[in-house]
Amino acid sequence: MSIREDVKATRAEYFLCARGITKVYGDGTLAVDDVTLDVRPGEILGMLGENGAGKTTLTKMLSGLLPPTRGQVLSPRGIVRFASPREALDFGIGMVHQHFALVGTFTAAENVALGHEHPFSRVRLEQTRSQLEKLIEESGLHVPLDVPVEKLAVGEQQRVEILKVLSRNVSLLILDEPTSVLTPVEVDVLFALLRRLRDAGKSIILITHKLREVSSVTERIVVLRRGRLVGDVTTRSVTRDQLAQLMVGETAAQTVGAAIELAEETQLLGQDEERTGPGILHVTELTVKGDTREVAVRDLSFDVHGGEVFGIAGVEGNGQSELVESLGGLRPAVHGRATIRGVDILGKDPRQIYQLGVAHVPEDRWKLGLVLPFTLAENAILGIQRWKEFCGFLGFLRKRRITAHVRQLMDRFGIQATGPNAPAKSLSGGNQQKLIVGRELAKDPAIIIAAQPTRGLDIGAAQYIRELLVEMRRKGRAILLVSADLDEILALSDRIAIMYEGRFVAIGRPSEFDRARIGLLMGGASVKEAA
């Protein structure tokens, strides 16, 4: 049955429908290509797709905030087109973003009240409060109401976001990658809430790239690839492999499938005990404080050897960033010791640490890894600009050598750009990451600290980076891998540690864990509970 027939049959039962909507941006980019789609009441719709598939653009058009270049978005009341998120909310469409729209210094109650009342009336917080308390009871989203939101944990902050939207009595709730900051237990609570809302007749769109989740909570799934709707299916009728195939297309599907297989069976890329070399990184009782003066890394002790990948799994926000920053010289440690081949690194500045043989691929390539307005050549020497090779008499830069160096990187790692003097911000995410990884590997390091190395990359680029790491492992380098992508950790690591609230709650070989156990450990269950 074609989609159009499907729609006609249920015409009276849609909350929104999109008819052949296309979005072409002013500079010619085709973001969404002829999508026809229904949003129905009492249904959880999953929207699946990689980065860049057009999910965000599509949802913006569905919520009326972006006009389609062609086609229309309709509701039974007429055309859907709003001038501001406020109008969309008034209409009944509420969106929970990936990056929260909260005012840090305000409490949860103040944040929820923000959108409600007329500008010059006096603050009637008590009224809002009691309404809010009722809503919390109904939804099960418990959150302290009088603490400044910036002091809350990420999961609690998300609950405030959701409460904000729910308090407006929306009919359509759109959630953009909500589970990336939640523990498995919190995900269950969220999904239970979504099911309750669905039963109450609301429409829900769940945007995600996680196959497992989309299969477990949705009734229907639409798959986007390169702006086109390549699948509109009921959840029950597809397998995860089929979804993966739709998401990435024929050729890459095998790679994804392979990665999923690897994760499922927790196989390693060449598990071999004799191959691991001498200890490179020794960490003893490391304690690091986070930005909010609270302890982020507690008393951590571990080693990483040459020729092994030590993977740290865990939901983001459990101290991984602070751990990496302290090892990279970007954050002071409060207590403990860390050595590279016997030499202390804590308290040293990044340049000294690099000289000891450390390479650091940072988790935020725009904030940390690159100076975006700089050229590729200039970025290629970031961190090593004072090496004798690049900087000579009186500190003059050896431009010819630098250009040669970056050309080498471009060749070796297939970085696509208009030339060594192109600004780094003109590169795609994948090429930017390749530049960073290439630059770090060219230091010929003893250990590579890779934090979220494939985040935001398309499948091809991600796989390439992973293969590079494996190659480094084969050459005897030590690799400390931090990733929120569990599949990636399980597929690449010789040993894994699961990090929760600053501690390693478990260390071992991937074969010793199954997914359920990992999930529980990531959520804070003790080793005994998870056994």
């Binding site: 729209a101 005012v103 923000l114 010059f120 603050v123």
Partner: protein, 296 residues
């Protein structure tokens, strides 16, 4: 030191405090909403100038009004440039200062505006010690309290803070970020305009081409000192006003006659530095201060 000394010092300090407090409170409102206006000095200068012109035409109240309108207009342009056109606040502020310096000097050379006859100056409230005090001082004492109430206790104050802290959140909540910033800055400019016109029409009674003497920048320092609390701005303004009027009353103190006038004139600026150097660290500014807002 007898009692009339004390009153004299008090009156002098209060008079000097007025432009600082008014400008600072206006800037507090603007900065709470996220806009940092370094062009306050230029606004003071321009509104002092237009204030005198207005007073010459229609008397002191017209002069004050003209000054307020000038301040409001300049701030309005500033906020349009920085919000609607997402321009750099720093550069726009510097441009305002430069423009004002040139315009006022030019205007004075072209028209020969200088001192106001007694009838065109604002009346002064007579005090028992024989010195007059401007009624605007009362305004300057009251405005901080009104501003404090507005920011802390009204819905609009909450909206202002949200816009300054996290404009995205405010936008999503349905607040028109651009409009709030526009209104806040323009209102701040009106206060600064009143301050400028006060200097020429009420306090000094004449116009010179550098009548503002850096007070716009001292006001910025007052804002820092106040931590965006209008009541503290009143305190800070008084302290700075006190040091400003030092040069005047120190002539009456024989003990300090030896100090050259130039060093006394330096005092307000040195004090500002010391205060700002001491105050930083305990002050928290809105997170989005100084950054233009782009809706995604």
């Amino acid at each position: 030191m007898n009692l009339s000394y004390f009153w004299m010092i008090l009156i002098l300090s209060l008079q000097a405090m007025v432009p600082l407090v008014l400008t600072a409170v206006g800037e507090i409102i603007g900065e709470t909403a996220g806009l940092f206006n370094i062009g306050l000095e230029g606004i003071l200068l321009m509104s002092a100038f237009t204030g005198v012109m207005g007073a010459q035409l229609g008397g002191p109240w017209v002069g004050l009004l003209t000054g307020m309108l000038t301040g409001g207009a300049i701030s309005f342009i500033f906020s349009v440039i920085t919000t609607r056109f997402k321009g750099s606040q720093m550069i726009a502020g510097i441009g305002i200062n430069l423009f004002a310096i040139g315009f006022v000097a030019f205007g004075m050379a072209a028209r020969g505006v200088s001192s106001l006859p007694q009838g065109k100056r604002l009346f002064a409230i007579q005090t028992p010690v024989g010195m007059g005090i401007s009624p605007i001082v009362i305004v300057a004492l009251v405005v901080p309290f009104i501003a404090y109430y507005f920011l802390k206790r009204t819905r609009a104050g909450l909206m202002l803070k949200a816009v300054g802290e996290n404009p995205e959140a405010a936008d999503v909540a349905g607040i028109d970020v651009l409009r709030v910033r526009l209104l806040a800055t323009t209102f701040g400019g009106i206060l600064a305009g009143l301050a400028g016109a006060y200097i020429s029409v009420s306090w000094v009674g004449s116009m010179t081409k550098d009548i503002s003497q850096g007070r716009g920048f001292i006001a910025l320092a007052t804002v820092v000192f106040s931590g965006l609390n209008p009541l503290l701005a009143l305190v800070g303004g008084f302290i700075f006003g006190f040091f400003e009027s030092l040069a005047v009353w120190i002539r009456n103190m024989p003990a300090l006659k030896g100090i050259p006038t130039q060093f006394i004139a330096m005092a307000p600026y040195v004090v500002t530095l010391l205060v700002v150097a001491g105050a930083i660290g305990r002050v928290r500014f809105p997170k989005a201060l100084g950054e233009p807002y782009k809706r995604e």
